[in-house]
Protein backbone atom coordinates (compact mmCIF):
# COMPACT_ATOMS: atom_id res chain seq x y z
CA UNK A 1 0.00 0.00 0.00
CA UNK A 2 1.12 3.51 -0.78
CA UNK A 3 2.68 5.35 2.08
CA UNK A 4 0.47 7.97 3.65
CA UNK A 5 1.16 11.63 3.04
CA UNK A 6 2.70 13.85 5.67
CA UNK A 7 0.24 16.68 6.40
CA UNK A 8 1.57 18.09 9.66
CA UNK A 9 5.09 17.92 11.04
CA UNK A 10 5.76 16.99 14.65
CA UNK A 11 6.37 20.66 15.45
CA UNK A 12 3.10 21.71 13.89
CA UNK A 13 1.22 19.00 15.73
CA UNK A 14 2.83 19.91 19.02
CA UNK A 15 2.08 23.60 18.69
CA UNK A 16 -1.51 22.83 17.67
CA UNK A 17 -2.09 20.63 20.69
CA UNK A 18 -0.26 23.03 22.96
CA UNK A 19 -2.61 25.80 21.91
CA UNK A 20 -5.54 23.39 22.16
CA UNK A 21 -4.74 22.42 25.75
CA UNK A 22 -4.23 26.04 26.78
CA UNK A 23 -7.47 26.94 25.03
CA UNK A 24 -9.39 24.31 27.04
CA UNK A 25 -7.94 25.68 30.28
CA UNK A 26 -8.53 29.31 29.29
CA UNK A 27 -12.07 28.59 28.11
CA UNK A 28 -13.06 26.62 31.23
CA UNK A 29 -11.61 29.20 33.62
CA UNK A 30 -13.09 32.05 31.56
CA UNK A 31 -16.53 30.46 31.39
CA UNK A 32 -16.41 30.02 35.18
CA UNK A 33 -16.21 33.80 35.48
CA UNK A 34 -18.63 34.45 32.62
CA UNK A 35 -21.85 32.84 33.79
CA UNK A 36 -22.97 31.86 37.31
CA UNK A 37 -24.22 28.53 35.96
CA UNK A 38 -20.61 27.65 35.15
CA UNK A 39 -18.94 29.04 38.28
CA UNK A 40 -18.47 25.46 39.48
CA UNK A 41 -15.77 25.14 36.81
CA UNK A 42 -13.62 27.33 39.07
CA UNK A 43 -13.19 24.25 41.31
CA UNK A 44 -11.15 22.66 38.53
CA UNK A 45 -8.57 25.38 39.05
CA UNK A 46 -8.49 25.33 42.84
CA UNK A 47 -11.32 27.75 43.58
CA UNK A 48 -12.42 31.25 42.64
CA UNK A 49 -9.27 33.19 43.56
CA UNK A 50 -7.01 30.66 41.79
CA UNK A 51 -9.22 30.79 38.72
CA UNK A 52 -8.92 34.58 38.74
CA UNK A 53 -5.13 34.36 39.17
CA UNK A 54 -4.50 31.63 36.57
CA UNK A 55 -6.89 32.63 33.78
CA UNK A 56 -4.92 35.62 32.45
CA UNK A 57 -1.59 33.76 32.53
CA UNK A 58 -3.12 30.81 30.67
CA UNK A 59 -4.61 33.27 28.20
CA UNK A 60 -1.30 35.01 27.54
CA UNK A 61 0.47 31.66 27.10
CA UNK A 62 -2.22 30.57 24.64
CA UNK A 63 -1.93 33.86 22.76
CA UNK A 64 1.84 33.61 22.42
CA UNK A 65 1.86 29.99 21.32
CA UNK A 66 -0.98 30.68 18.92
CA UNK A 67 0.98 33.59 17.44
CA UNK A 68 3.87 31.24 16.66
CA UNK A 69 1.56 28.72 15.06
CA UNK A 70 -0.36 31.37 13.14
CA UNK A 71 2.90 32.78 11.79
CA UNK A 72 3.68 29.36 10.38
CA UNK A 73 0.21 28.72 8.91
CA UNK A 74 -0.62 32.23 7.64
CA UNK A 75 0.76 31.84 4.13
CA UNK A 76 -1.42 28.82 3.45
CA UNK A 77 -4.53 30.63 4.66
CA UNK A 78 -4.88 33.43 2.14
CA UNK A 79 -8.40 33.46 0.72
CA UNK A 80 -8.42 32.70 -3.03
CA UNK A 81 -11.05 32.78 -5.77
CA UNK A 82 -11.77 29.05 -5.49
CA UNK A 83 -12.33 29.57 -1.77
CA UNK A 84 -15.12 32.04 -2.47
CA UNK A 85 -16.72 29.53 -4.82
CA UNK A 86 -16.33 26.82 -2.17
CA UNK A 87 -18.05 29.04 0.38
CA UNK A 88 -20.86 29.92 -2.03
CA UNK A 89 -21.54 26.17 -2.29
CA UNK A 90 -21.74 25.69 1.47
CA UNK A 91 -24.86 23.59 1.02
CA UNK A 92 -22.82 20.99 -0.88
CA UNK A 93 -20.23 21.15 1.88
CA UNK A 94 -22.58 20.39 4.76
CA UNK A 95 -24.40 17.63 2.85
CA UNK A 96 -21.18 15.77 2.00
CA UNK A 97 -21.62 16.39 -1.77
CA UNK A 98 -17.95 17.10 -2.11
CA UNK A 99 -17.63 16.04 -5.76
CA UNK A 100 -19.39 19.24 -6.89
CA UNK A 101 -17.01 21.51 -4.99
CA UNK A 102 -14.00 23.29 -6.46
CA UNK A 103 -10.69 21.65 -5.61
CA UNK A 104 -8.94 23.43 -2.75
CA UNK A 105 -5.41 23.73 -1.41
CA UNK A 106 -4.02 22.58 1.92
CA UNK A 107 -6.89 24.34 3.69
CA UNK A 108 -10.47 24.81 2.55
CA UNK A 109 -12.31 28.08 2.89
CA UNK A 110 -13.93 26.98 6.15
CA UNK A 111 -10.54 26.29 7.68
CA UNK A 112 -9.24 29.59 6.37
CA UNK A 113 -12.18 31.50 7.82
CA UNK A 114 -11.58 29.78 11.13
CA UNK A 115 -7.92 30.77 10.94
CA UNK A 116 -8.64 34.46 10.47
CA UNK A 117 -11.45 34.42 13.03
CA UNK A 118 -9.01 32.96 15.54
CA UNK A 119 -6.40 35.59 14.70
CA UNK A 120 -8.85 38.44 15.29
CA UNK A 121 -10.49 37.00 18.40
CA UNK A 122 -7.16 36.04 19.99
CA UNK A 123 -5.81 39.53 19.37
CA UNK A 124 -8.93 41.16 20.83
CA UNK A 125 -8.82 38.80 23.83
CA UNK A 126 -5.17 39.57 24.50
CA UNK A 127 -5.55 43.36 24.26
CA UNK A 128 -8.82 43.59 26.23
CA UNK A 129 -7.54 41.00 28.68
CA UNK A 130 -4.64 43.24 29.59
CA UNK A 131 -7.00 46.16 30.19
CA UNK A 132 -9.20 44.12 32.56
CA UNK A 133 -6.27 42.39 34.34
CA UNK A 134 -6.94 44.09 37.65
CA UNK A 135 -3.89 42.82 39.52
CA UNK A 136 -1.36 44.44 37.20
CA UNK A 137 -2.84 46.71 34.55
CA UNK A 138 -6.39 47.95 35.18
CA UNK A 139 -5.14 50.80 37.36
CA UNK A 140 -3.62 52.39 34.27
CA UNK A 141 -6.91 52.58 32.37
CA UNK A 142 -10.07 54.69 32.65
CA UNK A 143 -13.11 52.87 33.96
CA UNK A 144 -15.00 53.50 30.70
CA UNK A 145 -12.30 51.68 28.76
CA UNK A 146 -12.29 48.83 31.29
CA UNK A 147 -16.05 48.45 30.87
CA UNK A 148 -15.76 48.43 27.08
CA UNK A 149 -12.87 45.94 27.26
CA UNK A 150 -14.86 43.66 29.59
CA UNK A 151 -17.73 43.50 27.13
CA UNK A 152 -15.44 43.04 24.15
CA UNK A 153 -13.45 40.35 25.97
CA UNK A 154 -16.63 38.37 26.65
CA UNK A 155 -17.76 38.81 23.04
CA UNK A 156 -14.42 37.76 21.55
CA UNK A 157 -14.34 34.75 23.86
CA UNK A 158 -17.81 33.82 22.72
CA UNK A 159 -16.71 34.03 19.07
CA UNK A 160 -13.56 32.01 19.80
CA UNK A 161 -15.32 29.29 21.77
CA UNK A 162 -18.12 28.99 19.19
CA UNK A 163 -15.53 28.77 16.40
CA UNK A 164 -13.63 26.07 18.22
CA UNK A 165 -16.84 24.10 18.75
CA UNK A 166 -17.31 24.20 14.97
CA UNK A 167 -13.62 23.30 14.49
CA UNK A 168 -13.87 20.30 16.81
CA UNK A 169 -17.08 19.13 15.20
CA UNK A 170 -15.60 19.44 11.71
CA UNK A 171 -12.73 17.21 12.84
CA UNK A 172 -15.16 14.60 14.14
CA UNK A 173 -17.32 14.91 11.01
CA UNK A 174 -14.58 14.64 8.37
CA UNK A 175 -13.01 11.26 9.12
CA UNK A 176 -9.24 11.25 8.87
CA UNK A 177 -8.80 14.81 10.19
CA UNK A 178 -8.12 13.85 13.79
CA UNK A 179 -5.52 11.32 12.67
CA UNK A 180 -3.89 13.97 10.51
CA UNK A 181 -3.37 16.22 13.51
CA UNK A 182 -2.47 13.37 15.90
CA UNK A 183 -0.05 11.36 13.75
CA UNK A 184 0.56 13.85 10.94
CA UNK A 185 -0.46 11.51 8.11
CA UNK A 186 -3.36 11.32 5.69
CA UNK A 187 -4.10 8.77 2.98
CA UNK A 188 -3.73 9.61 -0.71
CA UNK A 189 -7.47 9.23 -1.20
CA UNK A 190 -8.17 11.60 1.69
CA UNK A 191 -5.86 14.26 0.31
CA UNK A 192 -7.30 13.89 -3.21
CA UNK A 193 -10.87 14.10 -1.93
CA UNK A 194 -10.55 17.01 0.49
CA UNK A 195 -7.58 19.01 -0.70
CA UNK A 196 -7.08 18.29 -4.41
CA UNK A 197 -4.79 21.19 -5.22
CA UNK A 198 -2.58 20.44 -2.24
CA UNK A 199 -2.49 16.77 -3.29
CA UNK A 200 -1.27 17.74 -6.77
CA UNK A 201 1.40 19.87 -5.17
CA UNK A 202 2.57 17.05 -2.94
CA UNK A 203 2.65 14.59 -5.87
CA UNK A 204 4.60 17.02 -8.02
CA UNK A 205 7.19 17.31 -5.28
CA UNK A 206 7.41 13.55 -4.98
CA UNK A 207 8.44 13.12 -8.62
Amino acid sequence: MKRDIQRYTANERSSHWGVALLFILAALSGLALFHPALFWLSHLFGGGPWTRILHPFIGVAMGLLFALMAWRFAGRNRIKAHDRQWLAQWRDVVTNREDDLPRVGKYNAGQKLLFWTLIVSMLVLLLTGIVIWRAYFSGAFAVGLIRFASLLHAFAAFVLISSIIVHIYAAIWVKGSVGAMLYGKVSHAWARKHHGLWYDEVRKKER
Binding site: M1, K2, R3, I5, Q6, T9, E12, L33, F34, H35, P36, A37, F39, S42, G47, G48, P49, T51, R52, R72, G75, R76, R78, V94, N96, E98, K106, I132, R134, A135, S138, V143, G144, I146, R147, F148, S150, L151, A154, F158, I161, S162, I165, V166, I168, Y169, I172, W173, K175, G176, S187, H188, A189, K193, H194, L197, W198, E201, K205, E206
Partner: protein, 308 residues
Protein backbone atom coordinates in the same frame (compact mmCIF):
# COMPACT_ATOMS: atom_id res chain seq x y z
CA UNK B 1 -29.35 31.32 61.80
CA UNK B 2 -29.83 31.51 58.09
CA UNK B 3 -30.07 34.90 56.52
CA UNK B 4 -33.68 35.35 55.51
CA UNK B 5 -33.46 38.95 54.44
CA UNK B 6 -31.42 38.81 51.25
CA UNK B 7 -32.92 40.64 48.26
CA UNK B 8 -30.11 40.01 45.85
CA UNK B 9 -26.96 37.94 45.75
CA UNK B 10 -24.19 38.28 43.17
CA UNK B 11 -23.90 35.67 40.40
CA UNK B 12 -27.07 33.94 41.54
CA UNK B 13 -29.94 33.26 39.17
CA UNK B 14 -32.55 31.95 41.61
CA UNK B 15 -34.22 33.98 44.39
CA UNK B 16 -32.30 34.29 47.64
CA UNK B 17 -33.93 33.69 51.05
CA UNK B 18 -35.98 36.83 51.36
CA UNK B 19 -39.17 36.24 53.35
CA UNK B 20 -38.23 38.69 56.09
CA UNK B 21 -39.57 42.15 55.37
CA UNK B 22 -37.49 45.00 56.62
CA UNK B 23 -37.84 48.70 56.42
CA UNK B 24 -35.49 50.47 54.01
CA UNK B 25 -32.80 52.26 55.96
CA UNK B 26 -30.83 55.26 54.82
CA UNK B 27 -27.98 57.44 55.90
CA UNK B 28 -28.51 61.10 55.15
CA UNK B 29 -25.45 63.30 54.78
CA UNK B 30 -26.19 67.00 54.90
CA UNK B 31 -23.31 68.70 53.11
CA UNK B 32 -24.53 72.08 54.36
CA UNK B 33 -23.93 71.06 57.97
CA UNK B 34 -20.61 69.29 57.44
CA UNK B 35 -17.59 71.09 58.91
CA UNK B 36 -15.03 68.66 57.49
CA UNK B 37 -13.71 67.52 60.87
CA UNK B 38 -13.20 63.93 59.64
CA UNK B 39 -14.54 62.46 62.88
CA UNK B 40 -16.58 60.13 60.64
CA UNK B 41 -13.37 58.83 59.05
CA UNK B 42 -11.91 58.15 62.46
CA UNK B 43 -15.08 56.48 63.76
CA UNK B 44 -15.13 54.29 60.65
CA UNK B 45 -11.54 53.18 61.24
CA UNK B 46 -12.20 52.59 64.92
CA UNK B 47 -15.36 50.56 64.59
CA UNK B 48 -14.23 48.54 61.59
CA UNK B 49 -10.69 48.16 62.91
CA UNK B 50 -8.99 49.22 59.70
CA UNK B 51 -5.89 51.42 59.61
CA UNK B 52 -4.67 52.85 56.37
CA UNK B 53 -1.00 53.46 55.75
CA UNK B 54 0.10 56.96 56.68
CA UNK B 55 0.26 58.82 53.39
CA UNK B 56 1.46 62.31 52.61
CA UNK B 57 -0.51 65.48 52.14
CA UNK B 58 -1.36 66.34 48.57
CA UNK B 59 -1.84 70.05 49.18
CA UNK B 60 -5.52 69.99 50.02
CA UNK B 61 -7.51 68.95 53.08
CA UNK B 62 -8.37 65.55 51.61
CA UNK B 63 -6.60 63.02 53.80
CA UNK B 64 -6.23 60.30 52.75
CA UNK B 65 -6.63 61.62 49.24
CA UNK B 66 -8.74 58.69 48.05
CA UNK B 67 -10.80 55.75 49.22
CA UNK B 68 -8.81 52.57 49.79
CA UNK B 69 -9.30 49.05 51.07
CA UNK B 70 -8.55 50.50 54.54
CA UNK B 71 -10.31 53.86 54.17
CA UNK B 72 -13.96 53.20 53.47
CA UNK B 73 -14.98 56.83 53.73
CA UNK B 74 -13.11 60.05 52.95
CA UNK B 75 -14.09 63.68 53.08
CA UNK B 76 -13.65 65.41 49.77
CA UNK B 77 -13.12 69.16 49.90
CA UNK B 78 -14.08 71.28 46.89
CA UNK B 79 -13.62 75.04 46.66
CA UNK B 80 -16.37 76.60 44.57
CA UNK B 81 -16.62 80.24 43.59
CA UNK B 82 -20.29 81.09 43.21
CA UNK B 83 -21.91 83.64 40.87
CA UNK B 84 -21.50 86.40 43.46
CA UNK B 85 -17.77 85.74 43.60
CA UNK B 86 -17.97 84.23 47.07
CA UNK B 87 -16.13 81.11 48.04
CA UNK B 88 -18.16 78.05 48.99
CA UNK B 89 -16.41 75.15 50.61
CA UNK B 90 -18.32 72.09 49.47
CA UNK B 91 -17.36 69.14 51.63
CA UNK B 92 -18.68 65.73 50.78
CA UNK B 93 -18.25 62.56 52.77
CA UNK B 94 -17.54 60.00 50.03
CA UNK B 95 -18.11 56.26 50.29
CA UNK B 96 -20.48 53.55 49.17
CA UNK B 97 -23.93 54.88 48.24
CA UNK B 98 -25.67 51.50 48.79
CA UNK B 99 -27.58 51.70 45.51
CA UNK B 100 -30.94 50.00 45.17
CA UNK B 101 -29.60 48.73 41.83
CA UNK B 102 -25.95 48.08 42.65
CA UNK B 103 -23.54 47.97 39.70
CA UNK B 104 -20.99 46.06 41.80
CA UNK B 105 -23.45 43.26 42.49
CA UNK B 106 -24.47 43.13 38.84
CA UNK B 107 -20.85 42.76 37.73
CA UNK B 108 -19.60 40.33 40.40
CA UNK B 109 -18.96 36.80 39.02
CA UNK B 110 -18.67 35.05 42.39
CA UNK B 111 -21.90 33.71 43.90
CA UNK B 112 -22.65 35.41 47.20
CA UNK B 113 -19.61 37.68 47.30
CA UNK B 114 -21.93 40.70 47.19
CA UNK B 115 -25.24 40.68 49.01
CA UNK B 116 -28.07 43.18 49.17
CA UNK B 117 -30.15 42.98 52.31
CA UNK B 118 -33.85 43.73 52.62
CA UNK B 119 -33.04 46.96 54.47
CA UNK B 120 -31.09 48.15 51.42
CA UNK B 121 -27.55 47.62 52.66
CA UNK B 122 -25.18 46.32 49.99
CA UNK B 123 -22.46 44.30 51.67
CA UNK B 124 -19.34 42.56 50.44
CA UNK B 125 -18.72 39.06 51.75
CA UNK B 126 -14.94 38.81 51.46
CA UNK B 127 -15.02 35.06 52.19
CA UNK B 128 -16.39 34.58 48.67
CA UNK B 129 -14.52 37.43 46.97
CA UNK B 130 -12.12 36.23 44.28
CA UNK B 131 -10.41 39.59 43.79
CA UNK B 132 -11.22 40.10 40.11
CA UNK B 133 -12.20 43.76 40.54
CA UNK B 134 -15.36 43.51 38.44
CA UNK B 135 -17.17 45.39 41.24
CA UNK B 136 -14.93 48.38 40.52
CA UNK B 137 -15.82 48.08 36.83
CA UNK B 138 -19.52 47.95 37.66
CA UNK B 139 -19.69 50.72 40.28
CA UNK B 140 -21.03 54.07 38.98
CA UNK B 141 -19.41 55.87 41.95
CA UNK B 142 -15.87 54.40 41.84
CA UNK B 143 -16.10 53.11 45.40
CA UNK B 144 -14.81 49.52 45.87
CA UNK B 145 -11.09 48.98 46.33
CA UNK B 146 -9.03 45.78 46.21
CA UNK B 147 -6.70 45.30 49.16
CA UNK B 148 -3.00 44.83 48.45
CA UNK B 149 -2.81 42.58 51.50
CA UNK B 150 -5.38 39.95 50.63
CA UNK B 151 -6.68 40.82 47.13
CA UNK B 152 -10.24 41.13 48.43
CA UNK B 153 -12.57 44.03 47.66
CA UNK B 154 -13.60 46.36 50.49
CA UNK B 155 -15.95 49.28 50.94
CA UNK B 156 -18.33 50.88 53.45
CA UNK B 157 -20.65 48.24 54.97
CA UNK B 158 -23.05 50.91 56.26
CA UNK B 159 -21.98 49.26 59.53
CA UNK B 160 -24.30 46.36 58.73
CA UNK B 161 -23.11 44.67 61.91
CA UNK B 162 -24.25 47.65 63.99
CA UNK B 163 -27.47 48.19 62.04
CA UNK B 164 -28.38 44.51 62.49
CA UNK B 165 -28.47 45.00 66.26
CA UNK B 166 -30.35 48.28 66.14
CA UNK B 167 -27.44 50.70 66.27
CA UNK B 168 -26.67 53.53 63.88
CA UNK B 169 -23.49 53.44 61.75
CA UNK B 170 -20.33 54.56 63.53
CA UNK B 171 -19.95 57.71 61.41
CA UNK B 172 -23.50 58.77 62.30
CA UNK B 173 -22.91 58.23 65.99
CA UNK B 174 -19.78 60.34 66.03
CA UNK B 175 -20.78 63.28 63.78
CA UNK B 176 -20.59 66.37 66.03
CA UNK B 177 -22.82 68.64 63.94
CA UNK B 178 -25.62 66.24 63.11
CA UNK B 179 -24.69 66.39 59.45
CA UNK B 180 -25.02 62.62 59.25
CA UNK B 181 -28.28 61.09 60.38
CA UNK B 182 -29.61 57.57 60.08
CA UNK B 183 -33.06 55.99 60.10
CA UNK B 184 -35.72 54.62 57.81
CA UNK B 185 -35.43 55.90 54.28
CA UNK B 186 -38.83 57.58 54.54
CA UNK B 187 -37.87 59.31 57.76
CA UNK B 188 -34.60 60.47 56.20
CA UNK B 189 -36.43 61.91 53.19
CA UNK B 190 -38.73 63.75 55.53
CA UNK B 191 -35.78 65.03 57.51
CA UNK B 192 -34.14 66.13 54.25
CA UNK B 193 -37.28 68.03 53.24
CA UNK B 194 -37.00 70.16 56.34
CA UNK B 195 -33.34 70.86 55.67
CA UNK B 196 -34.01 71.71 52.03
CA UNK B 197 -36.79 74.12 52.95
CA UNK B 198 -34.41 75.80 55.37
CA UNK B 199 -31.63 76.03 52.77
CA UNK B 200 -33.98 77.46 50.14
CA UNK B 201 -35.15 80.11 52.61
CA UNK B 202 -31.49 81.07 52.98
CA UNK B 203 -31.00 81.64 49.28
CA UNK B 204 -29.93 78.21 48.09
CA UNK B 205 -32.70 77.98 45.51
CA UNK B 206 -31.40 74.74 44.05
CA UNK B 207 -30.96 72.93 47.34
CA UNK B 208 -32.23 69.39 47.09
CA UNK B 209 -31.95 65.73 47.92
CA UNK B 210 -29.50 63.47 46.12
CA UNK B 211 -31.21 60.09 45.79
CA UNK B 212 -30.54 59.31 42.13
CA UNK B 213 -33.19 57.40 40.21
CA UNK B 214 -30.68 56.02 37.71
CA UNK B 215 -29.53 53.46 40.28
CA UNK B 216 -33.01 52.98 41.74
CA UNK B 217 -32.28 55.45 44.54
CA UNK B 218 -29.56 55.08 47.14
CA UNK B 219 -29.43 54.21 50.81
CA UNK B 220 -26.85 56.89 51.40
CA UNK B 221 -28.34 60.24 50.41
CA UNK B 222 -27.01 63.77 50.38
CA UNK B 223 -28.60 67.10 51.03
CA UNK B 224 -26.85 69.37 48.56
CA UNK B 225 -27.00 73.17 48.42
CA UNK B 226 -26.60 72.80 44.65
CA UNK B 227 -28.57 69.68 43.80
CA UNK B 228 -28.62 70.82 40.18
CA UNK B 229 -24.82 70.74 40.04
CA UNK B 230 -23.80 67.54 41.83
CA UNK B 231 -20.47 67.56 39.97
CA UNK B 232 -19.37 70.53 42.08
CA UNK B 233 -19.05 68.12 44.98
CA UNK B 234 -15.76 66.55 43.88
CA UNK B 235 -17.28 64.94 40.81
CA UNK B 236 -20.43 63.42 42.28
CA UNK B 237 -22.27 62.18 39.14
CA UNK B 238 -25.48 64.12 38.41
CA UNK B 239 -27.39 61.16 36.94
CA UNK B 240 -25.50 57.99 37.84
CA UNK B 241 -26.61 54.67 36.42
CA UNK B 242 -25.08 51.31 35.70
CA UNK B 243 -23.13 51.81 32.46
CA UNK B 244 -24.93 50.33 29.45
CA UNK B 245 -21.64 48.55 28.67
CA UNK B 246 -21.80 46.80 32.04
CA UNK B 247 -25.48 46.14 31.46
CA UNK B 248 -24.76 44.51 28.11
CA UNK B 249 -21.77 42.59 29.46
CA UNK B 250 -23.65 41.22 32.45
CA UNK B 251 -27.20 41.30 31.13
CA UNK B 252 -28.24 40.07 27.74
CA UNK B 253 -24.91 38.68 26.52
CA UNK B 254 -24.66 36.08 29.26
CA UNK B 255 -27.77 34.01 28.52
CA UNK B 256 -27.61 34.70 24.77
CA UNK B 257 -23.97 33.63 24.47
CA UNK B 258 -24.59 30.51 26.56
CA UNK B 259 -27.56 29.65 24.38
CA UNK B 260 -25.65 30.25 21.16
CA UNK B 261 -22.66 28.14 22.25
CA UNK B 262 -24.97 25.33 23.34
CA UNK B 263 -26.90 25.59 20.07
CA UNK B 264 -23.66 25.40 18.06
CA UNK B 265 -22.65 22.19 19.79
CA UNK B 266 -26.16 20.76 19.37
CA UNK B 267 -26.20 21.73 15.69
CA UNK B 268 -23.02 19.70 15.24
CA UNK B 269 -24.49 16.72 17.03
CA UNK B 270 -27.64 16.73 14.91
CA UNK B 271 -25.67 17.29 11.74
CA UNK B 272 -23.80 14.10 12.57
CA UNK B 273 -27.06 12.30 13.25
CA UNK B 274 -28.84 13.52 10.10
CA UNK B 275 -26.10 13.94 7.50
CA UNK B 276 -23.47 11.69 8.98
CA UNK B 277 -19.72 11.58 8.81
CA UNK B 278 -17.73 12.43 5.73
CA UNK B 279 -15.70 9.30 5.02
CA UNK B 280 -13.03 8.77 2.40
CA UNK B 281 -13.30 5.63 0.23
CA UNK B 282 -9.81 4.28 -0.14
CA UNK B 283 -8.98 3.86 -3.83
CA UNK B 284 -7.74 0.47 -5.03
CA UNK B 285 -5.23 2.23 -7.32
CA UNK B 286 -3.49 3.68 -4.31
CA UNK B 287 -2.84 0.20 -3.04
CA UNK B 288 -1.28 -1.07 -6.26
CA UNK B 289 0.64 1.95 -7.36
CA UNK B 290 4.14 2.05 -6.01
CA UNK B 291 5.40 5.47 -5.15
CA UNK B 292 8.63 6.65 -3.66
CA UNK B 293 8.09 7.31 0.03
CA UNK B 294 7.43 10.87 1.00
CA UNK B 295 10.47 12.05 2.83
CA UNK B 296 9.40 13.50 6.13
CA UNK B 297 12.50 15.62 6.24
CA UNK B 298 11.10 17.69 3.40
CA UNK B 299 8.76 19.27 5.86
CA UNK B 300 11.58 20.85 7.69
CA UNK B 301 12.31 22.89 4.58
CA UNK B 302 9.07 24.78 5.16
CA UNK B 303 7.42 23.07 2.24
CA UNK B 304 4.09 24.23 3.57
CA UNK B 305 4.85 27.92 3.70
CA UNK B 306 3.92 30.46 1.06
CA UNK B 307 1.06 30.49 -1.41
CA UNK B 308 -0.67 27.53 -2.86
Amino acid sequence: MATQDVIARSATTTPSPSVRQQEDVAKLIDTSLCIGCKACQVACMEWNEVRDEIGSTVGVYDNPDDLSADSWTVMRFAEHENAEGDLEWLIRKDGCMHCAEPGCLEACPSPGAIIQYANGIVDFNQDDCIGCGYCITGCPFDVPRISDKDNKAYKCTLCSDRVNVGLEPACVKTCPTGAIVFGSKDAMKEHADGRITDLRSRGFDNAGLYDPDGVGGTHVMYVLHHADKARLYSGLPQNPSISPLVGAWKGLTKPLAMLAMGATALAGFFHYVRVGPNRTEEDADDVEEVLPPVDERDDHHDADRGGQ
